[in-house]
Symmetry: C2
């Protein structure tokens, strides 16, 4: 396999401040994906496993991977396939659900900060603090005070305030030694429909069907707008967003694994030297 | 591979109340391990992955795996190899270290209850609440009030009190739908020495060497006694201890994977039926 670098995936990265029109981003793109994606993915995920071992041994820094996407966009599948060879000791996958009563008593970043990866770990947020500018925005009429709904000045200020909080939060993590990478799993509306139908047809997948799937799908365009608004405000040099074409699962896994390997190679974690070199010479009785 | 059942591993289980002499338990035993252990382990860990998916889909029960053993007994390696095919979304590995100041303000079970696996998850405790009747007992002269040290009546009462607390805690988990399995990774003193020497010789493993390794090894016999005392008091029908011969890493992985697959087959988790069967017929637009 060719030597991949982080910059090979740079066309998927959202440049800070640059407007995004999601209809310009093809969901079925496979540009750059090798003919045998399985083999390439296997190589990359093996590398990811080795790099994580070094990150763990080094014990100074961490990596936070944020996964966002609409229902059935493949967040769970990404976790299963991309992190297949990462030692379970060194990874924390957090699936954020509706906030609890306790969590709602705090600012929206509180529960996320509470679950950031410790030094040496990869943390994966399956959904994240971004829900508070996505689902909350789409359903603002049910979830927020009247003055914060709609397109008025109050609402505009509220989203700017939240974007500011998010970038400050991610800046804190960056300064603390946690690299932050954010992936939007971009699928077409038709692909989502096909995946829902596949769940209906397969009894072993019935448990994944929810009343809400039908309901939320009506808000497809609202979600696309909420994502488009959010990207330029929160994609920073230090904590970039990547828009991942995700209609094809192998392409999705290849892109994400490639970017993660790229960033970890840049970080270049190294097992620490022994604080006390005499330990290598002492005799065990 | 032959069809393995949980009872095939029953000679490794500590019968409740039965005295244990660790010198009767061979650390290099490979009885029952197939000629090609890699293949058998691969089959078992694949099965474990499938059974965990069902546990997750079912979403009602969980499994807590406690790993204990002396330094270099292979706790980390067990996690890496046995849970290789478990979806990282459905597993939580908790490595307990020395308690924090905050944790010390609570009873010793508090921090462990805080990290038990949610419904649908496998939880792995790499070290656990058992440290409070093991390392704390071995170093009682430094860690406990004078009346609780040594072999006097006060000390005897203290360990009985802690065993009682532990069995009550595990009984709570059992009643809440969490199966508890406990593994002692049993290695010989010579095998530990060889593994420490291997770490000294391999620069990529130097970071695992610690001053404490040399110090703790002096207490080898004290640890064996503390384990022997603890087994009969805390191995229950519901939450048994298994003493795993661990000099041979493949044998260790085979035994543990086999027991885990056995217990999960007994639990027989099933993805739930759809609460609203109409969802399979609704049309997605």
């Amino acid at each position: 396999m060719m030597k991949l670098k982080l910059k090979d995936f740079d066309d998927l990265r959202v440049k800070p401040g640059k407007a995004v029109d999601l209809s310009d981003h093809k969901t079925d793109r496979t540009h750059g994906v090798p003919k045998n994606p399985e083999e390439a993915i296997e190589t990359l995920t093996q590398k990811l496993g080795v790099l994580q071992e070094n990150l763990y041994a080094e014990g100074r820094r961490s990596l936070l991977v944020v996964l966002q996407g609409l229902d059935a966009s493949g967040k769970d599948g990404t976790v299963r396939h991309v992190f297949d060879h990462v030692n379970p000791t060194g990874i924390q996958v957090i699936s954020f659900k509706q906030p609890t009563t306790e969590e709602l008593r705090h600012d929206f970043l509180w529960r996320c900060h509470n679950r950031t990866p410790p030094r040496g770990y990869i943390g994966v947020f399956n959904r994240s603090h971004y829900e508070d500018v996505l689902v909350v925005r789409v359903h603002a009429d049910k979830l927020l005070a009247p003055e914060l709904r709609g397109e008025g000045e109050g609402a505009a200020k509220e989203w700017q305030r939240r974007y500011r909080m998010i970038t400050a939060f991610e800046r804190i993590l960056e300064d603390a030694g946690t690299r932050v990478l954010k992936f939007f799993l971009h699928i077409s509306k038709e692909e989502q429909r096909q995946r829902f139908i596949a769940r209906q047809k397969d009894p072993t997948k019935h448990w994944k069907l929810a009343e809400g799937d039908f309901e939320e799908r009506k808000y497809w365009d609202h979600y696309q707008r909420a994502y488009e608004q959010m990207f330029p405000a929160t994609s920073t040099k230090e904590a970039p967003w990547y828009i991942i074409p995700s209609d094809h699962k192998k392409a999705r896994d290849f892109y994400i694994a490639g970017i993660l390997v790229g960033i970890l190679k840049e970080m270049d974690p190294q097992p620490p030297k022994l604080a006390n070199p005499a330990l290598t010479r002492l005799k065990f009785k």
